[in-house]
């Protein structure tokens, strides 16, 4: 990791120097593999840590054109393209990066769009170091997946550039007269909607909330994924004729069966996500000042509670916050609490940083912003004051023991290591399990022991004409997997409707 902050202008000038030195892009053909591998990875321009802790705007600012050309020129254009195997939707990575290196940005974006519907979102939030960057040859050479070609950052640049140019024209097949209902407007639902609308089907998206986007609008904060980017995708879909019906809770307003039998939908895609927060079941969990990350983030993001002047939705005023968990959700909650004015924010996690499921970049950003990491630590009880509010937490220290079946070393409590932390707000970020509202009111849908809907390879459930995908099938997973499922289901639905 680089130390010392460099502003976007400096980074751009440095990239320009490399570019001129190597005569990019014309000189591309002359650069030997060894020299390509020696080009340093382009740093992502960002807001300075001390400043961004006080605002909600995006932290990462995006590569400049010079940076993209230099970064893309690092790609070794491997014949077997191991990076593609790391991408859940198999984007032709060497293809689009090759085009980007030549400055052919429109072509590059077209290549991405063959496989990915939401590059501006995935480029920002994919856990790249565990996907495309993990398998990239350059990262292997450099012995660090973080040093691989910054595939997502290039993707983000191309998508943002395309959107600025207004690239939303799509060909639409003539109407098939078939109606498809989509339950949930998260990344999975939006993807299926786009593919099906393109194929000429009449698509309606039913969303429980008053805004579309799922976790990308109510969970992932503005400083990591601006809401305007998600809205842009929604606007594109509307322009393609997709109907959005808000304030509609499938399972209550109407059941899946009623959608088909009463409202005449020929097929349904269930993509209602995994929204059911997990708690730890420790004493004190229902005290005032204990929140699920879902609640905390929904208040802050969707309900705009950070804007205390305008928003009617209140958010808890905190001094010292403890966030339980080590995933993206935990990082988002901690960094949001900091931005809402907490003096001290702790991440309390049972294992070590190495085992944290969060994106490496987010952990790094959180540390830079001053979040305190209490690793190998687990809360055992939340302590109350005399008014039922959080007054602190009891914790135990852990050490890593033997590896379990999954190969991860199991944390073991150290006897006698109890200690007290002065805390007034606790946020549980332990992940989500599947929300039973749809499955509970649709007994025809088979589920596994975690309550996730089971589907066949076309994405179809045990109920004919009903498909499912995203977090409700995968368990809390990732945006790109949700999108991949959406694509599979769209193909499955199209075939089903053509039968």
């Amino acid at each position: 990791m680089t130390c010392g902050y460099k502003d976007p202008g400096t980074l751009d000038l440095e990239a320009l120097a490399v570019r001129e030195n190597l005569n990019l892009p014309q000189g591309l053909n002359q650069i030997k593999k060894k020299d390509r591998a020696a080009i340093p990875q382009q740093e992502m321009p960002s807001q300075e840590a001390g400043i961004r802790g006080g605002n909600m705007t995006e932290v990462a600012l995006g590569y400049s054109e010079n940076q993209v050309i230099v970064e893309a020129s690092r790609c070794l254009e491997c014949a077997n393209a191991p990076c593609v195997k790391g991408c859940p939707v198999s984007i032709d990575i060497p293809g689009f990066i090759g085009a980007a290196a030549k400055g052919e940005f429109d072509e590059a974006l077209d290549i991405i769009k063959e496989s990915s519907m939401l590059p501006a979102i995935c480029g920002r939030v994919c856990p790249q170091e565990k996907q495309c960057m993990e398998t990239c040859t350059l990262g292997k050479i450099r012995k660090d997946p973080m040093e691989s070609v910054a595939i997502g950052r290039i993707e983000r640049f191309l998508a943002d550039r395309g959107a600025e140019k207004g690239d939303s024209t799509v060909d639409k097949a003539p109407s098939t007269g078939k109606k498809v209902a989509i339950v949930g407007s998260g990344p999975s639902g939006l993807t299926t909607a786009a593919d099906l609308a393109r194929l000429g089907h009449e698509v309606t998206v039913f969303e429980a909330f008053h805004k579309a986007g799922g976790v990308t609008v109510y969970g992932i904060p503005e400083f990591r994924l601006p809401k305007s980017i998600v809205q842009r995708e929604v606007d594109n879909l509307e322009a393609m004729g997709v109907q959005f019906v808000y304030d509609f809770l499938v399972g209550r307003t109407r059941t899946v069966k009623e959608l088909m039998e009463k409202d005449g939908y020929h097929a349904v895609y269930v993509a209602n996500g995994a929204g059911l927060p997990k708690f730890m079941n420790i004493p004190g969990e229902n005290l005032v000042g204990v929140f699920s990350a879902n609640e905390y983030l929904t208040r802050a993001n969707l309900m705009k509670a950070y804007d205390t002047e305008k928003a009617a939705t209140p958010i808890y005023k905190s001094r010292k916050v403890a966030v339980f968990g080590g995933g993206n959700v935990a990082m988002d909650a901690a960094r949001t609490a900091l931005r809402l004015g907490a003096e001290e924010v702790h991440i309390v996690y049972r294992r070590t940083e190495k085992e944290m499921p969060a994106r490496v970049e987010e952990v790094h950003h959180a540390r830079e912003e001053g979040i305190i990491f209490d690793l190998l630590t687990n809360p055992t009880a939340i302590i109350s004051d005399d008014q039922g509010r959080v007054a602190g937490i009891e914790c135990l220290q852990y050490e890593l023991g033997e590896a379990d079946e999954s190969g991860r070393r199991r944390p073991v409590a150290i006897e006698g290591s109890e200690f007290f932390m002065d805390i007034d707000t606790c946020i549980t970020a332990l992940g989500n399990s599947s929300n039973p509202l749809v499955t509970g009111t649709t007994p025809e849908l088979d589920t596994n022991k975690w309550g996730n809907i089971t589907v066949n390879e076309d994405g179809m459930t045990s109920m004919p004409g009903v498909f499912a995908g995203g977090d409700i099938v995968q368990g809390a997973a990732t945006v790109i997997l949700a999108m991949g499922d959406g694509r599979t289901a769209a193909r499955g639905i199209h075939e089903y409707l053509n039968q």
């Binding site: 809770l249 307003t253 005032v288 929904t298 009617a312």
Partner: protein, 286 residues
Amino acid sequence: MIRILKKKQLSSDVFQMELEAPHISESRKAGQFVILMLDDEYSERIPLTIADGDGKKGTITIIFQAVGGTTLALSRLEEGEAIAHVLGPLGTPTHIEKQKKPVICVGGGIGVAPLHPIVQAHKAAGNRVITIMGARNKDLLILEEEMAALSDELIICTDDGSKGRKALVTEPLKELCEADEKPAECVAIGPPVMMKFCAETTRPYKLHTMVSLNTIMVDGTGMCGGCRVTVGKETKFVCVDGPEFDGHLVDFSSMMSRMSSYKTQEDEHTCRLEEKAKELAAGGVR
């Protein structure tokens, strides 16, 4: 956009509105509620019980007390105007069974509004209903005629004796528990303290008592856990598992402290709105 078809003021701060909401009206059952949001961007989501509805007309009725920012703003909307978002019906419907013995329905203050559809449903199931209604004084009693028409027996209590008995609702409730014909069950809806004392009143008689909890909510779909309460040592989500629970098992003191989570912020917000309203009324700054 959901249109307000009719508006009526029931008491100094209680309002009734009929809303055009065909989907909700078609699916709703007794005990269910909606979550509404006044505009698209900055307003808050608040839960209100579906007090009545007409499936044929495609309407639902809400009755609310203007207690804070959102309910005050809602009370200022007029017929023909619209509410940006109304989600529903939410929650698990009331469990209604044919009973041989009478069912006691207790409503305190604004709690009479959520009680109304439950009394309706018990009557529809052929049950004998004894209703107890309570308020601080006679001006704060709502839905008296409707309740009188629906109930087999109506007992009115006021704190100051300005109408009916000068008593708390728990007094007649206790008498009914001791009557020769033991009641089959009790439903009590009102302020948390009232529900707590109703549950305490019926506990010694082992009379099954359901209460309807009005915790703070955000989504109303079981996603956030903000509405959670402790019921018989278990954590339950009011918006999906409830809003009705066995009153003998609810941890009321935990629930009441949770309901005060945002007290300071809410009071500030309401003050700001009131000030703005005054300024507007005075034709002052815009």
